[in-house]
């Protein structure tokens, strides 16, 4: 046992949890912790990355959490520092991302008195955290940190917030970190119930048109091999949600495509023919289901999720299975029979061919007119052979990145799905890059969302993060404009946006870049970007009124998917 102050105990606890990087921003109520941090950073025991806005720290931690499976860590001060985290917390909550945020709080003796920079952070963040706790006594630190990390990374991962009063940060006590934790009230079920597995297997074995819908859970549970083996053995097409992208090889004969509003034609049009659906690690978001009452009309659904509250929440599950994806798929694999469904798989190929001629070829290989978003993304994808970690912001470019980048690395697409948080891309790319320094990290944003966290260019420059930053500039808040065009009589209300010269802005931060305005410069721009050593900005002027198709209009059935 050693005598430590609360602040030292905070850092020591982080070290016990193998935390190597903190994303943060100091301020009055967290100063004692920053003072303790000084020595640890100096002796290189831990790294701190000073962001330019706490929201950036929150998203960067999400990036870290998504690629490592370990909680990303954030420091922020009380009041405005903490409230700036709310968007990132909500985002992490929706998208099942482990992060641990540590916020300073005013002295415990003045809590509740409207003290300077006091905010009810626990109250404000309760609905957007998996768990939160306010520490008012230093002695609570070791156990609460142990508990926080345990909760953030296990079960259905999620954001956790620890608020620490300033006096608790100062107080000395005998520090000892618990080696184990057992909570009475929180014991996620990870192993599937065998009875349910047998029921599921018999449905699969008797099905003519089975379909797998796989989501984020595959990445979280590292179940890529299991997914592949199950699909191969029983010959089942695999469709992926936004967060499931890159969990199944996209050039495989069984790859059915990307589900949802702007997903591929084949899985949308054919899901309604499926007689058995195996939904794994996905939650039937409305962007996936379209009009719920018409979704999967012919299918018996087997739903595998670690969160029991997801089962029967949106879609009735014939066979609900509460389990971690990996052991559940392993168990299923044992019980399913080898099968072939050639005809059914042919149907997907036929639908894919329709999309290819009607959309893919047109969008990716235009010969005249302005550069198209799909063209830019597929050129980048080809140049790097799909071997990059891609972080997209929110809007048309996001859907285009999801659709046209040919991911070749597992867990290589990161985007804000549930929350649709504009401004997510650039800071999340920071966390991804810091966690995976040996990989190429490409951030793709629109001109609108990029300006929501543009200040993080400062962090990227200071920390010399070699992020390849692509801005697809269409001069509009494109996704909103598309909806206005299609559903509001082309009344373009407040969606035109003028932007600064992004390359000049980057230069001001000491970041290199290039602006591509015509097709003939596109490949050169991509080459320059990929060959550059440090961070790089590639601004590409794209067709202003380009639309993303296919599209399932909101409230429509997925079978009413529009190709134009």
């Amino acid at each position: 046992m050693k005598k430590l102050t609360g602040s030292q105990a905070v850092i020591e606890s982080l070290l016990h949890e193998h935390v190597s990087v903190i994303f943060g921003y100091p301020g009055g109520a967290i100063m004692p912790i920053y003072d303790a941090l000084y020595d640890y950073v100096k002796s290189k025991k831990i790294r701190h990355i000073l962001v330019r806005h706490e929201q950036g720290a929150g998203h960067a931690a999400e990036g870290w959490g998504r690629v490592t499976g370990e909680p990303g860590v954030v420091f922020a001060t009380s009041g405005p520092g903490a409230t700036n985290l709310v968007t990132a917390l909500a985002d992490a909550m929706m998208d099942t991302v482990p992060i641990v945020c540590i916020t300073g709080q005013v002295h415990s003796s003045v809590i509740g008195t409207d003290a300077f920079q006091e905010a009810d952070v626990i109250g404000i963040t309760a609905p957007v955290t998996k768990w939160s706790y306010q520490i008012t006594q230093a002695q609570e630190i070791p156990f609460i940190f142990k508990k926080a990390f345990h909760i953030a990374r296990t079960g259905r991962p999620g954001p956790v917030l620890i608020d620490i009063t300033k006096d608790a940060q100062f107080a000395p006590f005998d520090f000892e970190y618990p080696s184990e934790i057992k909570l009475k009230s929180y014991n996620p079920t990870t192993q599937p119930h065998m009875k349910q597995i047998e029921l599921a297997a018999s449905l699969i074995n008797n099905s003519k048109k089975p379909l797998i819908l796989a989501g984020h859970g595959i990445h979280i549970s590292h179940a890529h091999t299991e997914l592949f083996d199950l699909a191969s053995k029983a010959d089942i097409p695999v469709a992926l949600t936004l967060h499931g992208l890159s969990s199944f090889p996209n050039d495989h004969r069984l790859y059915a495509g990307f589900l949802g509003m702007h997903g591929n034609y084949a899985p949308n049009i054919l899901s309604n023919e499926a007689d058995v659906v195996i939904a794994v690690g996905m939650r039937f978001d409305d962007r996936v289901t379209g009009r719920v009452k018409d979704f999967l009309p012919n299918a018996k659904v087997i739903h595998i999720d670690i969160d029991p509250a997801e089962l029967n929440k949106i879609i009735h599950a014939e066979v609900p299975i509460v389990a971690d994806a990996k052991p559940a798929l392993q168990a299923l694999l044992q019980h399913v029979k080898k099968q072939t469904h050639n005809q059914w798989i042919e149907q997907f190929k036929a639908a894919r061919d329709i999309e290819k001629t009607k959309i893919w070829d047109v969008e990716c290989n235009p010969t005249k007119g302005p550069i198209k978003m799909a063209e830019a993304v597929s050129r980048i994808s080809e140049a790097i052979k799909g071997k990059a970690l891609v972080v997209a912001d929110v809007g048309q470019h996001q859907m285009v990145a999801a659709r046209y980048f040919k991911f070749k690395l597992p867990n290589s697409f990161h985007s804000s799905g549930g929350m649709g948080t504009m401004g997510y891309g650039l800071p999340t790319a920071m966390g991804v890059q810091v966690a995976k320094p040996d990989q190429t990290v490409i951030s793709i944003s629109g001109d609108g969302g990029f300006q929501m966290n543009i200040q993080e260019l400062g962090t990227i420059a200071q920390e010399k993060m070699p992020i390849k930053i692509v801005i697809l500039n269409n001069g509009f808040l494109g996704m909103v404009r598309q909806w206005q065009q299609l559903f509001f009589d082309k009344r373009y209300s407040m969606v035109h946006m003028e932007s600064p010269d992004f390359v000049a802005v980057a230069k001001a931060y000491g970041i290199n870049g290039m602006k591509v305005e015509v097709r003939k410069d596109l490949d050169l721009g991509i080459k320059n970007m990929l060959e550059s050593k440090g961070p790089y900005i590639l601004e590409i002027s794209v067709e202003q009124e380009d639309n993303v198709f296919p599209m399932v209009a909101s409230g429509a059935s997925v079978s009413e998917i529009r190709l134009e």
Binding site: A126, K130, D307
Partner: protein
Amino acid sequence: MKNYYTITAFTENTPGVLYRIADLFLRRKINIESLTVSEVKNEDQSRFTIVVFAQADMVEKITKQLYRIIEVVKVIDSVDTDLVAREIALLKVSANKMEQRKEIEHLVSITPFTRIIEVKKNFLILEKTGTEKDINDFYDLMKPFGIKEFVQSGRIAVFR
């Protein structure tokens, strides 16, 4: 079809749980008819007894969502036949004249689980325990005398 359900949640006895539980009902727009929180003896736990008027499938969903709250240990949702439930009510009833007082005393004496707890010059304070229905019936019985004040507790319940 909507029905009355009693959701009993056992949770760790820590601050913030009530907030999270209340928020869940708020998000689902389920009105809480009554809520009683008490300590579980000899265990550091709280017992929430929550009465709602809702659809069966909604109750099932919210029960599962309650488990998302880290501190929640166990949740049981029940219909009235699964439970023995009681509430308590206090009534301040006008009694200016002797005949009124006599009559109230008589009614109290023949109604089970009812008693007079204070006698004042112009009014009586009565205590009534029972089911919601028992309490409503007694309220109606006292109404002609003039009820100056009425308060009713939330439900407490044990499983059959």
